[in-house]
C-alpha cells in the first residue's frame, strides 16, 4: 500500500518526450530569424526596440525554464525568484559597487546558479506537482525577503533601486536602447547556442533520460541527484542573467516587479512556445508581452478575461504550442516542394 502511494508521488510528470533533434530549428530558418532580429531595430522607433529587448530577455527566462522542464522534466513556478536575485545582483553591483554593467551579468549568473543548485538539493525529494508547489513557495517568499530591513541598505527596501542605463561604448553613434538591444541579442545568441549544445551533449542526454524514466536512467549509470540539481542550477543561472539584463533595460528594480505573476507568465510562455522546443521560447515570450496589450486594447475592464479567452483558444487549438505550428508549416513546405 505504502509502496503504491510512493509510486504515485514520484511518478514522472506528463511532459511529452521530445527527441533531441526536434529541439532546434534548421540552419536556414535559424539564420533567417537571426537576420530579422539583427535588421529590424534599424527601422523602428526606440520604444519598439525597448519592447524587442524585453522580448529577448523574457525569451531567455523562458528558455531557462524550458531546459529545466522540457529537458530534465522538473516543474518550477519559482523562476521569478531567480530572476529577482539576478536583477538585484546586477543592480546592487552597478549602483553600490560601481561595477560595469557587462561584468555584473556573469556574477548574477554564477550567484543564481549556486542558488538554484542549493535549492535543487531539497527539491530532489519532490517531483511533479509537489516540486511545483515547493518552487511556488520560493516565488511567494522572494518579494517579502527583498523588503527585509536587514538587507535594506543594499536593496533599497520597498523603494527599490534606480539603475543608470549604459551608453553605447567606443563612441558608437547609437541610441542607448539600440545598443542595449544588440548587447542583449549577442548574449541571447550565446546562451541559445550553449543551451542547444548542452542538451545535445552527454549531460543533455542524461537530463532527458531522467525526464523519460528516472529508474532506467539510474540503471544506465546516470547520477540522478547530480543531474537534477545541475538542471536546476543551469536554469537558475540563465534566469539570473535574464534578470540582470531586465534590471538594466527597465532601469529599476523593486520587490513588486518580481511577484508570482512573473513566474506564472514565464511558465505560460514555455507552454505556449512548446515544452522542450527551445526556439519556441521567443514565441512564448512574445505571447506574454504582447497578448496582454492586445487584450487591453479589446476591453480595458475585462482585459484579464479577454487574455484568458485568448490563452484558452491557443491551448485548445495548438496544445503543443508554437512547436506544433512549426511542424505543420514544415510539412506544408515539404509538400509544396514535392508538388
Amino acid at each position: 500500500m505504502s509502496a503504491a502511494t510512493e509510486d504515485a508521488v514520484t511518478e514522472a510528470p506528463a511532459v511529452e518526450a521530445v527527441p533531441k533533434r526536434a529541439m532546434t530549428l534548421g540552419l536556414g530558418t535559424s539564420l533567417a530569424v537571426l537576420a530579422a532580429l539583427v535588421i529590424a531595430p534599424l527601422f523602428v522607433k526606440n520604444f519598439i526596440i525597448f519592447q524587442m529587448t524585453m522580448l529577448l530577455i523574457y525569451a531567455l527566462a523562458v528558455l531557462a525554464l524550458n531546459i529545466l522542464t522540457g529537458g530534465s522534466g522538473q516543474f518550477s513556478l519559482g523562476q521569478s525568484a531567480f530572476y529577482a536575485v539576478g536583477a538585484y545582483t546586477s543592480a546592487i553591483l552597478m549602483e553600490h559597487v560601481g561595477m560595469n554593467y557587462a561584468l555584473t551579468l556573469p556574477i548574477a549568473g554564477i550567484i543564481c546558479f549556486a542558488f538554484g543548485f542549493v535549492f535543487g538539493q531539497p527539491a530532489l525529494r519532490l517531483s511533479g506537482v509537489y516540486l511545483a508547489l515547493a518552487t511556488f513557495a520560493l516565488a511567494v517568499a522572494m518579494p517579502q525577503l527583498l523588503k527585509l530591513g536587514f538587507f535594506e541598505h543594499w536593496t533599497g527596501g520597498v523603494q527599490g533601486l534606480v539603475v543608470t542605463k549604459p551608453d553605447a561604448p567606443f563612441g558608437l553613434k547609437m541610441s542607448q536602447d539600440m545598443w542595449l538591444y544588440y548587447f542583449t541579442l549577442a548574449i541571447s545568441i550565446g546562451i541559445y547556442v550553449a543551451s542547444v549544445n548542452l542538451l545535445r551533449s552527454r549531460s543533455g542526454r542524461a537530463f532527458m533520460a531522467i525526464r523519460d524514466n528516472e529508474i532506467a536512467a539510474s540503471a544506465m549509470g546516470v547520477n540522478v541527484a547530480l543531474y537534477k540539481t545541475l538542471a536546476f542550477g543551469v536554469s537558475a543561472g540563465i534566469t539570473g542573467i535574464a534578470g540582470g539584463l531586465g534590471a538594466i533595460a527597465v532601469q529599476f528594480v523593486a520587490p513588486d516587479g518580481y511577484t508570482i505573476t512573473l513566474a506564472i507568465s514565464l511558465f505560460l510562455g514555455m507552454v505556449v512556445g512548446g515544452v522542450g522546443w527551445l526556439p519556441g521560447s521567443i514565441v512564448g515570450s512574445a505571447f506574454i508581452i504582447f497578448v496582454p496589450n492586445i487584450a487591453e486594447s479589446i476591453s480595458k475592464g475585462l482585459s484579464g478575461a479577454v487574455f484568458g479567452v485568448l490563452l484558452f483558444i491557443v491551448i485548445f487549438l495548438v496544445p503543443h504550442g508554437a512547436r506544433q505550428v512549426a511542424i505543420v508549416a514544415q510539412q506544408l513546405i515539404g509538400k509544396l516542394r514535392k508538388g
Binding site: F47, Q159, V250, F252, A254, D256, G257, S303
Partner: protein, 406 residues
C-alpha cells in the same frame, strides 16, 4: 530626379510652415497638442494587487469625456489614453514609453503607485515630459531642483504627520507619545514627518515600535507601547493593522489620546470592523470631502460632483474615496490646461502647474487650497483635523498646513 522632388517638397513644407507660423503666431505646441486636441497619457493598475485604485483612472476618463461634451478646453478636446500597468514597475516603464514614444502624449498625468512612479521618474525627466500630479503620498515628489518634470498632488505623508505634531505641541504639550509604524516607505516617511514636526520637542516621543506587513497580528507591539506609560498613541498603519490596534487598545483598557493616519481613516474599512464603541474620540485628518457624509449634500461643489456621477459616470460610487480623488485630480489638470491657453508646450504646462494660486477643486474641504510655485511642487499641503463621534467623522479646528521642504 528624386532629390529635386525632395527639395521641392521640403521647400513647400517650409513655406507652409512659415505661413502657418505667421498666421498663428500666438500658438505654440509640443508633441501631443494640436489646434483640436490635447493628448494626455496615464497608467493605472486596472489589474493586479492594487486594482481597487483602477477606479481613479475610470473616473478621470469620465471627467474628460464630460469636458469634451461641454466643448473641451479652449476649444480643444482631451484625448485621455490610459493603460494598465498591473502595479508592476517593469510594465509601468513599458506602458509609459509607449505613451511617450508611440502615442506621443503631451503629459503623463496621475500615474499611480510609489514603485511605478519611481521606475518612470528618471526616464520622463530625461525626456522632459511632465510627470504631473502623481498619485502617491511619498514626499520625494516635491523636488523641483532634482526632478523639475515631476509633481505630486495629494498631501504628502510628511505634511500630514507634521500637522499632528503641531496639534499635540499646542493642545497637549506634556504628552508622552508612543508611535506604531509600518516598516516600509509609507511608515518611514510618516515617522520622519512627525520627528521634523516635533523638532526641538522630540523628547515628547517616548517609544517607537515598527511592525512588518507579514506579521499576522500586532498585539504584542501594543502591549509593549502601553507598558512605556505613554498617554498618546500615533497609529501609522494600513487599514487592517489600524483596526487591530484600535481593538487591542480597547481590550487592554489603555486610554491614550489616539491619532490615526488619513490612510486608515475609512469608516467602512477600519472604524466599523474595529467597533464603533472602541473608535470614539480618535483623531485624524482629511483634505477631501467624504461622499458618504450628509453634511455635504447641499454643498455646491459636491452637487457638481454628484451631477457628474449621475450623468457621465453612473458606475462610480460616491462613497468610494477613489472616485472623489480622481475627480479632484482631473479637475486640477483641466485647470492647468486652461491656464496654458494656446501655449501648449511641455515647458509651459509645468510652468502653469507651478503657478496655481488658491485653486479649490469641488471635492476638497472648504478652505483647502492648491498652491504651487517654482520651488513648491506639493500642490495640496493643507488638512483639517477630525474626531470620530458616533458613526462618522466630525471636522474641527482650522485648516492646518504642513509645508514640507525637501
Amino acid at each position: 530626379m528624386l532629390s529635386t522632388r525632395l527639395s521641392t517638397a521640403a521647400f513647400a513644407a517650409v513655406i507652409a510652415f512659415a505661413a502657418s507660423g505667421s498666421a498663428l503666431a500666438q500658438k505654440k505646441y509640443d508633441t501631443g497638442a494640436t489646434d483640436t486636441e490635447i493628448k494626455i497619457g496615464n497608467i493605472m493598475p486596472y489589474s493586479g494587487p492594487a486594482s481597487a485604485y483602477g477606479v481613479i483612472g475610470k473616473t478621470e476618463e469620465a471627467y474628460f469625456k464630460m469636458i469634451n461634451a461641454n466643448g473641451g478646453i479652449n476649444g480643444r478636446k482631451i484625448n485621455f489614453v490610459t493603460y494598465d500597468d498591473g502595479y508592476s514597475p517593469p510594465k509601468a516603464v513599458e506602458q509609459v514609453r509607449k505613451l511617450v514614444e508611440s502615442d506621443e502624449v503631451l503629459v503623463v498625468f496621475n500615474p499611480l503607485g510609489t514603485p511605478s512612479n519611481t521606475a518612470i521618474q528618471k526616464y520622463l525627466n530625461a525626456k522632459k515630459v511632465p510627470q504631473l500630479f502623481v498619485a502617491t503620498g511619498a514626499t520625494k515628489w516635491n523636488d523641483p531642483k532634482g526632478f523639475p518634470w515631476t509633481m505630486g498632488w495629494q498631501p504628502s505623508y510628511q505634511s500630514e504627520a507634521q500637522i499632528y505634531a503641531k496639534y499635540l505641541i499646542k493642545e497637549k504639550p506634556n504628552a508622552k507619545v508612543a508611535i506604531l509604524y509600518q516598516n516600509d516607505d509609507f511608515g518611514k516617511d510618516y515617522l520622519k514627518g512627525l520627528k521634523d514636526g516635533f523638532g526641538a520637542k522630540a523628547s515628547m516621543i517616548v517609544a517607537e515600535e515598527s511592525y512588518e506587513t507579514s506579521e499576522p497580528t500586532i498585539d504584542s507591539h501594543i502591549v509593549k507601547l502601553k507598558a512605556t506609560g505613554a498617554d498618546t498613541f500615533i497609529n501609522i498603519a494600513t487599514p487592517k493593522f489600524a483596526a487591530q490596534a484600535i481593538k487591542k487598545i480597547a481590550e487592554i483598557d489603555w486610554k491614550p489620546l489616539h491619532l490615526l493616519t488619513n490612510v486608515s481613516a475609512s469608516v467602512g474599512g477600519v472604524m466599523k470592523p474595529a467597533g464603533y464603541e472602541n473608535s470614539q474620540g480618535i483623531i485624524s485628518a482629511a483634505y477631501a470631502k467624504d461622499g458618504a457624509d450628509p453634511q455635504w449634500d447641499n454643498d455646491p461643489g459636491m452637487k457638481k460632483f454628484l451631477a457628474f456621477l449621475e450623468k457621465h459616470h453612473p458606475e462610480g460610487n460616491k462613497i468610494d474615496g477613489s472616485v472623489v480623488y480622481g475627480y479632484g485630480a482631473a479637475q486640477t489638470l483641466a485647470k492647468v490646461l486652461e491656464m496654458c491657453g494656446d501655449n501648449l508646450t511641455r515647458e509651459n504646462v509645468m510652468k502653469q502647474a507651478a503657478s496655481l494660486k488658491d485653486f479649490e477643486p469641488d471635492t476638497l474641504l472648504p478652505g483647502v487650497k492648491i498652491n504651487t510655485s517654482a520651488s513648491d511642487f506639493a500642490p495640496i499641503s493643507q488638512l483639517q483635523l477630525m474626531r470620530f463621534k458616533g458613526e462618522k467623522w466630525e471636522l474641527f479646528g482650522e485648516i492646518m498646513s504642513g509645508d514640507v521642504s525637501n
